[in-house]
Symmetry: D2
């Protein structure tokens, strides 16, 4: 049981989520969520062994029961701590396929992971963020990770785009409802390939042609530190050589 403020980062693997967790762990205790424990274990160990505080919980954000169970654990662990920030960085739903070959189940993956997952995460974290108001150095913050597909429905990307468009609608609606209540809601559009272990091998004709997860994390942190006079809602990030 700690009274240090904490942050929840949902969707942690070796890429953006881990960088965001590391960044926020410099100021807060962090809780990291991922479907598979293998995705957060090395990170939790790394943070805890380097002076930070991290707790990993396995959770499927698209399943409301799983989310409730995770937040029950979180409440027990952080019973008396304020929630400073909640970041929804969940992947999934990325299916690239000719539309007529999509099964109903495949198509629904986009919405389940992004829309449904975003709903579950927001509904459980917002009461904690509202409660934390006033006891923190920065306004409590809820950040959603978007993508190129948040603003453009490309051919054969119907699954992912419906999910990401839905998530952006959710973020806008929450920003307009909870901003006036003092919670900072943001949506970051990641436009390009992120430099992760998985994409290392991907050919890129340009040096520095992939997004740096640590630089993405810096942007999330900057948004979090904004005062309520000056809330940023949407920021698009891309490599200098990206076509857009």
């Amino acid at each position: 049981m700690a009274t240090k403020p904490f942050a929840i980062i949902a969707g942690v693997g070796p890429g953006t989520g881990a960088s965001i967790a590391r960044k926020f762990a410099q100021a807060y205790s962090v809780v990291v969520l991922a479907r598979n424990a293998a995705n957060y274990k090395p990170l939790v160990q790394e943070i805890n062994s380097s002076g930070g505080q991290a707790l990993g919980i396995s959770s499927d954000l698209s399943d409301s029961e799983s989310v409730k169970s995770a937040f029950k654990q979180i409440s027990q662990h952080h019973a008396s701590s304020p929630l400073a920030a909640a970041v929804f960085n969940v992947g999934g739903g990325f299916v690239k396929k000719p539309f007529l070959e999509l099964t109903e189940e495949e198509f629904t993956l986009g919405y389940r992971s992004q829309g449904q997952g975003g709903f579950n995460f927001a509904q459980t974290s917002l009461p904690l963020l509202l409660q934390a108001k006033g006891s923190l150095p920065h306004p409590p913050t809820l950040i959603f990770t978007g993508a190129t597909a948040s603003v453009k429905g490309s051919a054969t990307f119907a699954t992912f785009a419906t999910g990401k468009f839905a998530l952006r609608a959710l973020a806008q609606s929450l920003a307009r409802e909870f901003g006036p209540q003092g919670v900072h809601v943001s949506h970051v559009i990641i436009d390009g390939v992120i430099d992760t272990p998985r994409t290392k091998a991907w050919a890129n004709e340009h040096e520095d042609g992939k997004l740096d997860p640590d630089a993405i994390a810096d942007a999330y942190w900057h948004l979090h530190t904004q005062p309520r006079t000056t809330f940023g809602f949407e920021l698009d990030l891309r490599p200098y050589v990206e076509k857009w």
Copy 2:
């Protein structure tokens, strides 16, 4: 069994859907879909008794089995006819509520009716539209009905906005995939209150302050008649006094 081209209008009640059906029935045989037969029966009778051809089928577009069953009936009835146009004008998912009071089921209504419904309708109608190519006076057309919530996520509108954003993503993706294959995909944003029997009583400070369903139908017909050299994708319609 007829060889006259036909159009399918999904989401038919006493408002926009009925006007679209009447308009397209001037040139084509029409199939109208609604969850409840009571919603299409008077219209089917009206069209058939005034020299047109209409068939009504009860179908829940958010249920893929129900859609398949409806299209089986359609195929039997129009076995040798080309599908000239398919219009997705399905309502549902309109839930206005503080976000934290939404149940999971309520929130999902937006996506189920719009995203899932749009998927089911597009996947069953697109093969027929592709097949019809070349045998028609105008390129086969798939039109989706959007709303203000297609481009703006307002406070307490998370449910409807996630559904309508998702539908717009789907429409964009299909336009980019099937346009080059000769199918015209469009998305119409209805920004304002539509003048229907249900909204007649709603106060409106301005004369003519509600959208006329027949004028909306004229716009859909105009889009349908465009040649493939000049496909319109998105059109926003609103009353002259609407704030936007």
Copy 3:
């Protein structure tokens, strides 16, 4: 001196402007404006010799004195006729060049032709459109022609994009100010190459890969015929094979 309603089409050459003039000449007397008489003379002759009524006036829309002089001629010619529609279809300002090589004069061409030209045209035609209200079958209409560059500032397109963005801002502002006064203001985004004598030779890998000016004119006419309950503001038109 005639009492038949008339339309003004500004920016008439052998392409879209001519098609719009021909279309509107089926219902109205038309006045066509172009910088060089050579651009409208064949069209005026064609319309007049085929039962229509057309008047051509040389005018540089970016020069307010020239516009005033043109509208003085128009008022004399159509003293007792209502102005049914005014279409701003003026080209110019298309300079594609590395930014650092642009002269100040070249850069300003975009704004001069589009922003300044649009202002001059709107300010002289709006009083006539307001005056015409009520005496016409359709609400008086002011339509602006946009382009891909109206919504995207591409590399080396700074000149044209600043002009077209400015014109879109003007169209939005006028729609919001004059819509409630009964004047229908629209903005049409032409996204692709238009099929004109000048572009005939341009290679295009696809059959029907260029926009048909007559189909564009049909869209303008459709917008014009919309009742005030159902004003369309923005429509994007492109060939079925266009990448977007």
Copy 4:
């Protein structure tokens, strides 16, 4: 003559421009530009007397000769220093008036201050930014200040909106042309009233209901520090209670 990197902030009064100058002066020598020396003199004195380095130059950005003359002074003063950042924060062109009452001169003010001013500033600063590449801790940066009117043309705001739309077009075009050359171009949308001495008296029903210039400056600095892997292009900032 100094070798410390420097930043240029154009459009400096007691509000945002001054805050940006103070922020960048913590790391760089700064040059501040304003039409009237009275607008920058107290700021220059403040920075110089508190350990920073500031130079003020009177310049009318909409006048290319005036801009050239200012940059000549800048080159002499910073002959051997790299230009780290250039910020275009110029006001002007804010005319709110019924469209038909606007004079041609008034209407042009929007474009002159924003479009023309932005062009002059970008064309003189970009060669210096390109030259500075590689010798700086952060990629050289060019930031433009936008407003609500950058993305929405409201009624009676035609003048300001045409200017701000044009400036956004310019920013997009430059980001796409100079991003791949290593210069970071950004556009920040300020959506709301900024808390300045001038607006202090303006009633606001909400505490903290105006944007804090220092928080805006923090956002500009954050954008400047992003590596080329992760360039942010557009960020919208508004008070938590702002309607949007």
